[in-house]
Subunit: 196 residues, 2 copies
């Protein structure tokens, strides 16, 4: 009834894919467009698509990002071909008349308390960040996602005057296999799952 992808694809997406610490290669703008043209189709609540993406590629943009990075993440991030700032727009609901046109979905969110909006934006913006990671892998790119940075500094440097907030960062490129350690363990099925 169901048609799984082949083992090569399952490996590339999940089983042998790794978080790399060093990257080589160049990523042209056409590849970044292909990446967005895949990830954009991933589902979000009310199709709100709250994520926003800055592809940090130029020396100038890397220099703006550098002071916000934790020391342990700085050198590897500055050396990566591209670093994506995955953010989310707290005013995401202003796009709903276009994104969810068959009803007034904007009114479900506009005027809600900031904490409730943040939960929706963080949940769905993080889903889209994961779509970015797996879309990159599906295009043959390796990824290095990380949370080790100062969100307020990134927001000030890249999102001042907007309602966009940084969520996490993802380095992109061709992963250097000498930059990784053996994979850390995962929870067993019975530790993380229940069939009820």
């Amino acid at each position: 009834m169901f048609s799984p992808l082949n083992d090569t694809a399952l490996d590339q997406l999940f089983r042998t894919a790794r978080t790399y610490n060093a990257f080589s290669g160049e990523i042209d703008d056409a590849t970044l467009h292909r990446l967005y043209d895949l990830l954009k189709f991933g589902p979000t609540a009310a199709n709100a698509c709250p994520a926003r993406f800055v592809f940090v590629k130029s020396a100038e943009a890397k220099a703006k990002l550098a002071p916000a990075l934790d020391a342990g993440n700085r050198d590897k991030t500055l050396a990566a071909p591209v670093t994506v700032i995955v953010g989310y727009d707290m005013a995401f609901y202003d796009k709903l008349p276009v994104l969810f046109p068959h009803t007034d979905a904007r009114s479900w969110f506009a005027g809600k308390p900031e904490a409730a909006l943040e939960t929706v934006a963080l949940r769905n913006g993080s889903l889209q960040g994961a779509y970015l990671i797996l879309a990159a892998r599906s295009l043959g790119l390796d990824t290095g996602p990380m949370s080790g940075f100062d969100n307020a500094k990134v927001d000030e440097a890249f999102f001042a005057g907007t309602a966009i907030r940084s969520n996490f960062l993802v380095n992109l490129g061709k992963g250097d296999t000498s930059s990784i350690f053996p994979r850390s363990p995962r929870l067993g099925f019975d530790e993380a799952c229940l069939i009820a």
Copy 2:
């Protein structure tokens, strides 16, 4: 340099995949194990793996879930072969001595204010929810993720006495193509992205 998956795979994961409202088929427990054995490899901060998954399959479990569902989501969810409750464990850091054994990562989180822990758990638990959606698609399953339910009621019915909180739900099965409308629009590259 990079090897993309073929068009069939990119379609199955992103381009022609849809959020379905009606499902058929049966999903055996072995398939749920295969699903977890893919999604578990997706990256999370400090490999913390905060997501927890309840696969609601039995009539008894569906009856426990029913009162928490919004009216518009109730019938389709009760009729789906499996509904996954994607949750996250607020005490996720207690697993870090196993999951991130090379340093004392537990001390990075234990005792932090609840709001900060919630951000980490929601961010990374949502990433894992997206890995579940794409792992399901990679196994040929269709998905129906949704936020339209009462989180507090689900937590009371399924997670009482634990530190686990519900995040969102995902119906699984063989999608009925007559249950969907034309796909809603997505933001253009320049509305959602910036190359800097």
